[in-house]
Amino acid sequence: MTRADATPVLELTGIGKEFGAIRALHGVDMQVFPGEVVGLMGDNGAGKSTLVKIIAGNFRPTHGEIRFTGSAVHFNRPVDARAVGIEVVYQDLALADNLTAAANVFLGRELKRKFGPIALLDHKAMAARALELFGELRSETRPDDLVKQMSGGQRQAVAIARTRLSNARLVMMDEPTAAISVRQVEQVLGLIHRLKEQGVAVMLISHRMPDVFAVCDRVVVMRRGEKRADKPIHETSPEEVTALITGAKEAA
């Protein structure tokens, strides 16, 4: 799946991160290509979340360089990462419970209509677009329902619908299938396929081996803050990945 001629969407070189005396990441090199789904696996504390947060602009790396679509980038805030086309679906989904589904999808980039000098929210257009997005995700979610009244799968749909608003080049999903039903897992994996078809690169952070093997082209295994493996999915097996995660096998 790796195409040597294409420019990687994301290219990490020698990324390292220290929190005081703790070395959370060390010398991580990684490339993600357009339309590629990369599974990022590792045990708790392996450095997955730190890596994701660096790419998403929550942390700045202590060492190393991030290149996005060929040019070096420096993110100070998550907004900077979003501006270049990196979207993240957070594990806790980052939704405001007291707002409607449509309001959450458009949070921070509301559609407005100008009335002279004042810009008022365009509720109708936002609800219509949100309904369209939920339709694409085949999620039975009403745009006008409050998020606090929703099921886990619906909340997931709202969080994913948010990434579909912009022309994201890279979507990172942190455990999107951890808290939802079997049927909804199918839907989320279907959505990942649809992102891939549109040339969007997807980084899937997951503990669920079947999901990773179902959708990913390549799997990256982290352990103790280092990248231990980076293999096309058809050259590896769930057994080998498990061994790499637990440390039974040092590297591959």
């Binding site: 998550p78 907004v79 979003r82 993240v88 957070y90 989904l93 980052a94 939704l95 405001a96 419970d97 007291n98 707002l99 309001a103 949070l107 921070g108 980039r109 509301e110 407005k112 004042i118 810009a119 008022l120 929210l121 509720h123 109708k124 257009a125 609800a127 219509a128 677009r129 309904l131 369209e132 939920f134 339709g135 694409e136 085949r138 999620s139 039975e140 979610t141 009403r142 329902d145 409050l146 009244q149 619906q154 948010r162």
Partner: protein
């Protein structure tokens, strides 16, 4: 672009939330509104004086005296913050307004020569431009409120101090400054523009008290801002999930500073209006009003945990407090009972809401 709302999804498992289970019908504001309506009916039968024109004017005026500040504090409460400095702010703004007005209107006073001159008889002071002094003095009063609001907002949003502590400090600072500038004495709005001032604050239009008119205009503006602008949306998002607000790129710091500024300005305006009704701005004016204001907001359904509240709730809370006060006066109950009853109502209102959310 209005895309037709033709549903691409078939809702087989997800029912529609019924109209009485959403919006105002499922909110504390709704219950308190019903309680208020019941109370009004009871009052009507309990006292023949209650629904007289004079008494209604009185009630409208009295609740308007805390309602504008309540609108302001509701903004802060929706973001999950609190502002305890509103009472002191009312006093300080009123004081600065009347002091500036008096100073500019006294020949020989600081800068007064620009604004007033003596009439031919040598006794009457005449304004150079009628209304200008009023404008400047009100601007000065609101100006100090703006500064205090900016400090509140800066401390909570940028420095990350707890809003409770910051505004408790501001309560004391502003009250202290009020005593400093006035030396503990009251100040009176005076000079050629004083008549305009009294007309605009304690006058009425066709029997409707001026404060009530301001309240209605500001409440409508607030409803539009909260529900139909992105600023309002961000205010709610901040109270619902601050971390999510930050991650989605909402300018959290700016929104927080803005709500504290709005709150301080509302309190300042409220203070100026009260001083017009009182005819002076004593240094101990509006002491502990912050408690009434916050109580009214909470009774009306603003959630101190953030994320819920609105202008209707703020007004309903204020009206309820005032009707009870008024009712107790008409029923010749000792006014000392008022405070006790207000406390009971605060707890009851929150309790009813808790029971409702447990049931659903």
């Amino acid at each position: 672009m209005a895309v037709p709302l033709e549903s691409p999804i078939s809702f087989t498992n997800v029912g529609r939330i019924r109209w009485w289970q959403r919006g105002i019908f499922a909110s504390q504001t709704g219950y308190v509104l019903i309680a208020l309506a019941v109370l009004l009916v009871i009052m009507h039968f309990a006292s023949p004086y209650f629904f007289t024109e004079g008494n209604m004017q009185n009630v409208a005026k009295n609740f308007s005296f805390i309602a504008i500040a309540t609108l302001g504090v509701t903004f802060v409460i929706i973001t999950g913050g609190i502002d305890l400095s509103v009472g002191s702010m009312m006093c300080f703004s009123a004081m600065i307004t009347s002091m500036v007005m008096t100073e500019l209107s006294t020949p020989g006073g600081l800068g007064a020569s620009l604004f007033v001159h003596m009439a031919a008889d040598g006794k009457t002071v005449v304004a150079n431009v009628p209304g200008l002094i009023l404008l400047i003095s009100v601007a000065a009063g609101l100006g100090v409120a703006l500064i205090a609001g900016l400090v509140n907002g800066f401390c909570t949003a940028v420095l990350g101090l707890s809003p409770f502590v910051t505004t408790l400090g501001m309560l004391s600072i502003v009250r202290g400054l009020g005593y400093v500038v006035s030396n503990g004495r009251g100040s009176f709005p005076g000079g050629p523009d004083a008549d305009y001032f009294y007309g605009l604050t304690s006058g009425d239009v066709l029997g409707v008290p001026m404060p009530f008119i301001y309240l209605v205009i500001l409440a409508l503006a607030m409803a539009v801002v909260l529900h139909h602008t992105s600023f309002g949306r961000h205010v709610f998002a901040l109270g619902g999930n601050e971390k999510a607000a930050e991650l989605t790129g909402i300018p959290v710091v700016r929104v927080k500073i803005e709500v504290y500024v709005i709150c301080a300005l509302a309190a300042g305006l409220q203070g100026i209006i009260i001083s017009g009704w009182l005819g002076s701005a004593p240094a101990n004016m509006a002491t502990s009003y912050e408690l009434n204001v916050i109580a009214a907001a909470v009774i009306g359904g603003a959630n101190l945990a953030g994320g819920i509240g609105g202008p209707l709730g703020a007004i309903v809370g204020c009206v309820l407090l005032e009707v009870i006060r008024n009712g107790l006066v008409l029923a010749q109950v000792s006014s000392y009972w008022q405070q006790t009853l207000v406390g009971v109502i605060i707890i009851l209102a929150v309790l009813v809401d808790r029971i409702r959310s447990r049931m659903s």
